[in-house]
């Protein structure tokens, strides 16, 4: 028995939906695993009600500052090129998304994942797990220190190689904003043959590629790449929020 009352009309925001020509489709024929997994019926429109415009606000207590440095999770340092990966999490209105959980995972420098189903002949690194977490700061900024992941072969087609990438998972503040994606590195020569990269509509592919950030490199220590992540924004705001003066 519910104690809820329907109350009066609620003034709820709606979240903008990106145009199809900029969105990755659920299935993509050249990516063979989609064949038996991508649903075949068109999805039904779900209006944005309270369940969709709210979402888990996770983080405090789940993340320590050490979780953002993937090079210091073991007794020794991992092999590979040390890099800083940083950027901002924004919504499509350009507003920062502060204090939101960012989860990443990746292969080691040789392109091997620490996972039971990855057993291609490239060594594990005893000093690298490949898991990172952080919360964005009050201006939506995130930063990880890690090593540049290697490319790796997979069984999709003959001589198939995944371009180097880092997996990202983000929540934003609403169920509608949930995003799981992959960040690539500039000018990767493997893009042309990768169906997971090429499933992204051409116009949106640049949004999945980080840029080399010389200004943020650290002398005698680390290279740097910058990648901003944009989640869906609201097309109607119930209450004016403060502008923090730092809109991209």
């Amino acid at each position: 028995m519910s104690r809820t009352t329907s109350g009066s009309r609620l003034h709820l925001p709606r979240y903008l939906r990106e145009e199809d020509k900029f969105r990755t489709p659920v299935g993509y024929a050249d990516y063979r695993s989609t064949g038996l997994r991508a649903p075949l019926h068109a999805p039904v429109d779900l209006p944005h009600r309270l369940t969709e415009i709210t979402g888990p606000l996770l983080g405090e207590g789940r993340v320590t500052p050490a979780d953002a440095d993937l090079t210091r999770q073991h007794d020794g340092e991992p092999q590979g090129q040390r890099i800083i990966v940083h950027g901002r999490v924004l919504d499509s209105d350009g507003k920062p998304v502060p204090h939101t959980l960012v989860e990443i995972w990746q292969a080691n420098a040789g392109g091997r994942y620490r996972h039971v189903v990855d057993n291609w002949p490239s060594p594990l690194d005893p000093n690298f797990t490949g898991l990172g977490r952080c919360l964005t700061d009050d201006r939506g900024r995130y930063e990880f220190t890690t090593i540049k992941p290697g490319a790796y072969p997979w069984g999709n087609h003959h001589n198939a190689w995944r371009p180097a990438h880092i997996h990202f998972s983000l929540f934003g503040t609403a169920f509608t904003q949930r995003l799981v994606t992959q960040m690539y590195f500039p000018d990767d020569p493997l893009f042309f043959q990768d169906p997971i990269f090429n499933a992204i509509p051409e116009a949106a592919r640049p949004l999945a590629i980080s840029r080399f950030d010389y200004e943020r490199t650290v002398d005698n220590w680390a290279l740097a790449f910058r990648w901003d992540i944009v989640l869906r924004g609201k097309d109607q705001t119930p209450f004016e929020t403060e502008d923090d003066g730092d809109v991209a």
């Binding site: 519910s2 989609t34 064949g35 944005h48 309270l50 998972s169 949930r178």
Partner: protein, 189 residues
Amino acid sequence: MKTQLRTTPSATVGPYLAIGLTWEDGPFVVAPDADGAIWIRGTVFDGNGDVVPDAMVETWQADPDGRFDHPDDPRGPVAYPGFRGFGRSQTVDGGEYAVCTLKPGRVPDGDGGLQAPHLDVSVFMRGILDRVVTRIYFADEAAANAEDAVLRSLPDDAARETLIATPTDDGYRLDIRLQGDRETVFFAV
């Protein structure tokens, strides 16, 4: 004039999601010894009817009063300490997902009516390039289900059935079918 930024395109969670997305407390929307705790379980099936052993199922829901602990719920504070609203379960062990939670209450639809108790569900896995979204409703809420605008918007009872969890000894069960005769209804959010 506001500048509208393009959203970052999604990508598959891939086969190695367990490295990055495993939380020990993931399945526990509430502690299992909480008053009223139930388990919602199910299996994810692919187009061959085979169990998908590498999916992640996430749930988001209201508390038993139909409220969300969130600043955009205009109704104010909530009264279920320790209730996270969010569950995350991977289908690695035998292919079942399972979340331990409280049954949600009815949620206002914003237009003066009430939705039936439900959870919003995101499913991620290797082989799909964006999450797919569905809902879990409850078979023992027939009266509420009958007036739920989302369920009513579906073409027929067969479609509605794919979203309705059935009671079990310790909660409810709903399987997710990615393809086939009884393909789950998925939503565009």
